[in-house]
Amino acid sequence: MKTSKSADLRDKCAIVGIGETNYSKNSGRSNLALGLEAALKAIEDAGLTVKDIDGIVPGFIGPTVKQYASNLGIDQQIKFTVNPSIGGASQGAGIQAAAAAIYAGIATNVLCVFAFNGASSRGRISRTDRMVNPGMSATYRRDFELPYGFKIPAQWFALICKRHMHEFGTTSRQLGAVAVTLRKHASLNDKARYRTPISIEDHQNSPMIVDPFHLLDFSMETDGGAAVLVTSSERARNARHRPVYIMGIGEGHYFADDVVNKPDFFGTGHREAAHRAFAMAGVTTRDIDVAEIYDGFTFHVISHLEEIGFCKRGEGGPFVEEGHIGLDGDLPTTTHGGCLSHAHLSGMSHIVEAVRQTRGEAGRAQVKDAEIVLVNTEGNVGDATVIILRR
């Protein structure tokens, strides 16, 4: 038997369908209704029917495999399911698993879907009257952090950002540059929740919530759903739209769920995830035309650009301030406005935007000649995936 290596997976699979619901503060519908809408749209967008689906990857929160299979009426034809639970990084990890399963011939058309009433539901992540992060690390949160008032994701990242400012001179105005740029991108997107342009002064004048984070450093949770459909590159030839090939994909972890004790305070899984994705793709950061960078907070964009390797660690602040990440810059970033201004779908909406850019269907935010597009997903501070798509 031939020994396979990860590079074998390069270009073997493609994303052929995308689907999204509207994004709002109160959908008035269940997570499941949102997920089913996104699913059906993605299937239709691919030029397929429900009967063609034989794999399901649900979100790490929201509806389950069982719920999708039951409602779509396709229990008996499902050959592959996987349910990563690494926070927002699950979106990318699920696509990696789907690609591997397709390449191995286990499944043919895999639906990857995320749907959640992030803004209106009782289960939303920012709820302040209960613990975040169920699971093993809940005990660490409960016993060693919560008693001191440390409870929401904003505090985790504000803590890392504060040290980043101390070590590298990163400034709040540089965080503001991220907020301003991404809002500008969102103003070109009809589905974005926040489209009114803002200035650095607006950012600086917004209330300080968790020093050093102002209100405009936070993303706003969203009700909505999005789905992508993954298939083999061979089958993708018959899809309705031009295929978007998965050139490279990688997953990485670094002391996930531990903000306090990790030896490298700025370390995340992105370094390894990027290394693995770029190795599979056979390209470097210089070949990336567009970067859909996950942005739960403004600081994420600086951190992820550094850790993925678009700039050196500590240089992310000047990098965003100098305009590289604008649509007219040399690395247009988060072109739909991201979690900060478009919608918070734990990264799935960034994957959808990455597909649109690669297809040439990103409307007013379309980057000219976008051929190779990178998208990352992040979870639990330390978990990460990086996906490199190409035309």
């Binding site: 016993d143 952090e145 001191y148 008032g149 929401i152 803590l159 504060k162 919530i209 020093d211 306090v260």
Partner: protein
């Protein structure tokens, strides 16, 4: 004394029972591998370096430096309404290499906290059963 309304640790959780018992005695104890001697935090059953399951709890003198901190200016939950603005810091302990602890910085205006500031552990007997370690500037402890 007014009732303590903030969340409390589960002091009977077996993995950290010794830690909380130490706090009650006003001692800061941390996990140390019995075999390779490396310290670790948060508490876990296996040493990630040598994979031994033999653990002991070793006392730290509680002196350290602020490594990073945040100032919470908006209360996230009723229990903290009276406390904002307050500081949550990550402190590197001088005598326990590689270990950092999270706690509030007390006896200090949040705006006076800085990275690199020297601090010492102080023990807050918040209830009859639970004592929480916090940190105060070194010159406010002696």
């Amino acid at each position: 004394m007014a009732a303590y309304v903030k969340p409390l640790p589960e002091i009977e959780w077996p993995m950290a029972r010794e830690f909380w018992a130490g706090c009650k005695r006003h001692e800061l104890l941390l996990q140390q591998c019995q075999d390779c001697g490396k310290f670790r935090w948060y508490p876990q059953p296996m040493c990630p370096h040598c994979h031994s399951m033999n653990v002991k709890w070793t006392r730290s003198n509680g002196s350290g430096k602020v490594y990073s901190y945040v100032i919470t200016r908006r209360a996230f939950g009723e229990a903290w309404h009276g406390d904002v603005p307050f500081t949550i810091a990550v402190v590197e302990l001088d005598d326990v290499p590689g270990v950092r602890l999270m706690a509030n910085v007390v006896r200090c205006n949040p705006d006076d906290v800085s990275i690199g500031m020297t601090v010492e552990v102080v023990f807050d007997d918040v209830t009859d059963d639970v004592t929480l370690p916090r940190f105060a500037p070194s010159n406010k402890v002696r």
